[in-house]
Symmetry: C2
Subunit: 214 residues, 2 copies
DNA sequence: GAGTAAATGTATACCAGGTGCAGAAATCCT
DNA sequence: AGGATTTCTGCACCTGGTATACATTTACTC
């Protein structure tokens, strides 16, 4: 269907990548707020106006790579094998992400990823953007649950927000530990146990969540 | 301890209120993004610099009233009667909020509140600010759970994010229905049932959440 | 009650993110 | 090759937010 991208298309892709790369390099070196979009444009040899034609806002220079993950949970639910519970499919997917050190699980300690994660977490406007993705993920997952699991609308929405919230909490916890210096391979066992615990909590509820019950 | 507020203090309060009132009136009339802070400052008969001395950012002109709610769930958990489960206290508090039409439950249909809610939901930067409050509420609740219920740290965090996510989903659902025109008194029964269902889901887990199980 | 220190307010100029516009340059299609 | 179309650019402009330097008001003290 797309046999020949065409020169125009190829050039667009290259410009897009050039701007993004220049931006991330500068941001990692000096900090997100310490670099102006004008500097990014200059480094990418492009006018400021063109930069904004490719990226609607400064934050998108960083987070555009993560946009795909917004619908990841929904895709997992939709493409699960027949007879599998949504939550089971999501757990397996998350555990696989941990094994593969998928950055979205917070368990990737490549220096580049780590610095990027740290920068995002340290920059309020980028954190806000991530929260936007989170909301999008909730919405997409709710739709997927409703359409593929015969779940009532409200229940689907409630399940979706719980699941997404838990996944993000797990990822943030992992990322925080790696940012603190713990190697991913060392953290893996704990991350696995935590994920199992978290998904069990989702399945069984908060009833027995106290260490000593009364 | 504060017998006499003092003239300076009183004047500050009045200025604060004057700016906030002018801002909200203008925002409701013309829309958040259609009104500049300079216009707000002029309407409040104050310089732009002074406005920013009272409110760190334009969004705060709207959301500063909601800042108290950030720690509400945590306070409920901390001040619950001995022997009560945190989730029980939170459910009772939420149901009470519904009965009293507390705006935070989304079930208040006073025209002023409704317009304000609609404006916030329609303005991305305000939604982002709300998400910030949500994160703060999660954090505060996690601490409260950990300190008062002898819950392990991770479990407390996971429970907190689930609870906050569910409460917000309920509130947003109610607000959306009222924004659509449904009167609060008419919605009350449904909101009550939904809340009971949601808290039961939190307690018992997502296991049986499908309408027809397989 | 006058005078002074501290706090608060103002005017002005400035920076950065983002947009509208008109025209130049590149690409595409025939 | 040449015209139509898309893309890029420079420029002016708006808005949110901040720094500086100065004026004004409040509070405290004698």
């Amino acid at each position: 269907m797309d046999g020949k991208p065409g020169l125009r298309e190829r050039k667009k892709r290259r410009t897009h990548a050039a701007i993004s790369d220049a931006a991330i390099a500068l941001f990692l070196e000096h900090g997100f707020n310490q670099v102006s979009v004008a500097q990014v444009a200059e480094a990418a040899e492009v006018s400021k106006r063109t930069l904004f034609a490719y990226f609607p806002a400064k934050e998108d220079l960083v987070v555009h790579r993560l946009a795909d993950h917004e619908t990841e949970a929904a895709r997992v639910v939709r493409s699960r094998p027949p007879g599998t519970a949504p939550l089971t499919a999501l757990r397996e997917h998350f555990l696989q992400g941990l094994r593969e050190r998928d950055p979205i699980t917070g368990l990737n300690d490549h220096p580049h990823i780590r610095s990027l994660t740290r920068m995002i977490l340290d920059t309020p406007s980028l954190v806000a953007r991530m929260a936007g993705f989170k909301a999008g993920a909730e919405h997409a997952l709710a739709e997927a649950l409703q359409e593929t699991a015969d779940t009532p609308e409200l229940t689907a929405r409630l399940a979706a927000v719980q699941i997404v919230a838990v996944q993000w909490a797990l990822a943030q916890d992992n990322a925080a530990r790696l940012a603190y210096g713990e190697p991913a391979d060392e953290r893996y066992a704990g991350a696995l146990a935590d994920a199992e615990h978290a998904f069990a909590l989702l399945e069984n509820g908060l009833r027995g969540s106290r260490r000593h019950d009364g």
